[in-house]
Amino acid sequence: MTYKPQTTITAWLLVMPAVALLGLFTHVPIVGSIIHSFYSTDRPRRPSRFVGFDQYEAMFEDPIFWKALTNNLIYALGSVPFSIAIALAMALFVNERMSGRGFLRLAYFTPTVMPMIAVANIWIFFFTPDYGLIEQISQTLHLPAHNWLGSTNTALFCVTLVAVWKEAGFFMIFYLAALQQIPTDLKEAARLEGASGWAIFSQITFPLLMPTTLFIMINALINAFRVVDHIFVMTGGGPNNATSVLLLRLYEIGFKYFDHGQAAALSVVLLVVLGLIALGQFLLFDRKVHYQ
């Protein structure tokens, strides 16, 4: 293909502002993180110098790093399948001609419009010892008292639960969009053949929703490694790092301890995780479906 120089100049002028900003705040920092992860942190009277893989070695020796990584994986494996399953159920409910479906759609979707900080403030109270809602219910049922957010056994479960509540309604939207594209005559034909509701779902609807499920899964996974807001408010990563996740750890290292070399190495770990998710997406489905 031949390119007209005139068009090329116009095009570059049009994309330039966006591309320059993207470069400055996405591509330059990606490269910057990688470079800085090989240097020591700039301290007074000890200027930054090349240290090879020392930052990575220090990070891999840090038990809190492994704790945060494990927590993040548990969080992802806990929140992603549940929010997807609930989102699918919600979409199927709301897609039917059901009484009060406008109201239900509203109920499911509302958490999505709220700030995660606000959501966290509300949920904190449910988990509060002694007078929190959950404790009041378990007291009525004569169950033993339990500090939900203060115990290392349950804190991670609690923050995962809040994420499912917040995100399911958002993913429902994607399923709803996909359900509306499925031709109704397919289902009607199956029904005439005497197929049961479950057969229609498992043989027709669910397979047709597969690309959507994969798309949501990728997005949910990316979100799971960007999670921080509600954990910051609800537990601050505690108790004893039981709810620490990678981005929260990055915040602590970068902006509480000001150890920029360690922070750069941790950023690279996050970039690698996201890169793996992107690779998975690339291998899992034809890029053309979503990017052309």
């Binding site: 390119y3 966006a18 910057g32 709220m114 809602l133």
Partner: protein, 275 residues
């Protein structure tokens, strides 16, 4: 064996019941928060339906922290981001969709990287950049990393590609240049997408927290989310009713906007989502 229609009825009843149960479960935290915000703290714990309603919690919260300023900051922030995103993304999307130029595919692939690596991950390096620009603790600093949005460019490019070129040719015959064609043909035809993207952008940036937390440290620049977290973390015996009132207050405009324009909101998210 019961007749088919009867089985269908039972399934339908069961799924309606399940749907409502799930809906109530999902609304419960919000209803409870509203309950607490509109009752005095003495009445919050006892779920007495006849307890008197009050707006005192809202008044207390409003006067206990500079929420008016936080509202102004957030309003300025989301408006500024939206306007800049519309302009930047429209120009770039048009070039990517309709102008054949050297390096287009490679450049577009580079843009898409931001879909996976969001600016939040890069906050340490971005803080360095903003500091170098001398913009720490300003509203533009909160906005800068998000102004060029890969999602916006992607969404608008998809839309522009579906617009027939005949319309463009007609405009050119009438003497329109590139900008004229963009403004008279492409932008008006993509209006629903702008609405969809606008709603997604506003709700996203209204709710954004970590980057504003890092880059701001004064009342004059703090958006609502950061202001709320500062307010709620103050250990001065603020009771839960007041924190809840503040919480509902800060999400209020978005919630009310959502309730009023529910259909457009959901349709917009669907439209933005399927691409």
């Amino acid at each position: 064996m019961s007749p088919i229609w009867q089985q269908g009825l039972i399934t339908r009843l069961l799924s309606t019941a399940a749907a409502w149960l799930l809906g109530l479960l999902w609304l419960l935290p919000l209803l409870f928060a509203a309950w607490a915000a509109f009752h005095s703290s003495a009445n919050t714990a006892r779920l007495d339906l006849l307890a008197p309603l009050t707006l005192d919690n809202f008044a207390t919260a409003w006067s206990a922290a500079p929420f008016a300023r936080y509202f102004l900051n957030t309003a300025l922030l989301v408006t500024g981001i939206l306007v800049a995103q519309f302009i930047l993304c429209t120009l770039a999307a048009f070039a990517f969709a309709r102008l054949p130029f050297r390096g287009r595919e490679a450049l577009f692939s580079l843009v898409l990287i931001q879909l996976i690596v969001a600016p939040d991950i890069l906050l340490v390096e971005n803080y360095r950049t903003v500091k170098w620009l001398g913009l720490v603790d300003t509203l533009p600093a909160i906005a800068l990393p998000y102004l060029a949005s890969a999602f916006g460019i992607f969404l608008l490019r998809q839309t522009f590609k579906t617009i027939p070129t005949e319309l463009e040719d007609a405009a050119r015959v009438e003497g329109c240049g590139w900008l004229g064609i963009l403004w008279r043909v492409y932008v008006p035809l993509a209006k629903p997408i702008y609405l969809a993207y606008g709603l997604v952008s506003v709700s996203w940036h209204w709710n954004n927290f970590l980057w504003p937390l890092i880059i701001t440290n004064s009342v004059e620049t703090r958006p609502l989310t950061v202001g709320l977290s500062v307010f709620a973390s103050l250990d001065q015996g603020i009771d839960w009713s007041i924190i809840t009132a503040a919480t509902l207050m800060t999400s209020g405009p978005l919630l009310i906007g959502f309730l009023l324009f529910q259909r457009q909101f959901v349709q917009s998210f669907i439209r933005a989502g399927i691409r």
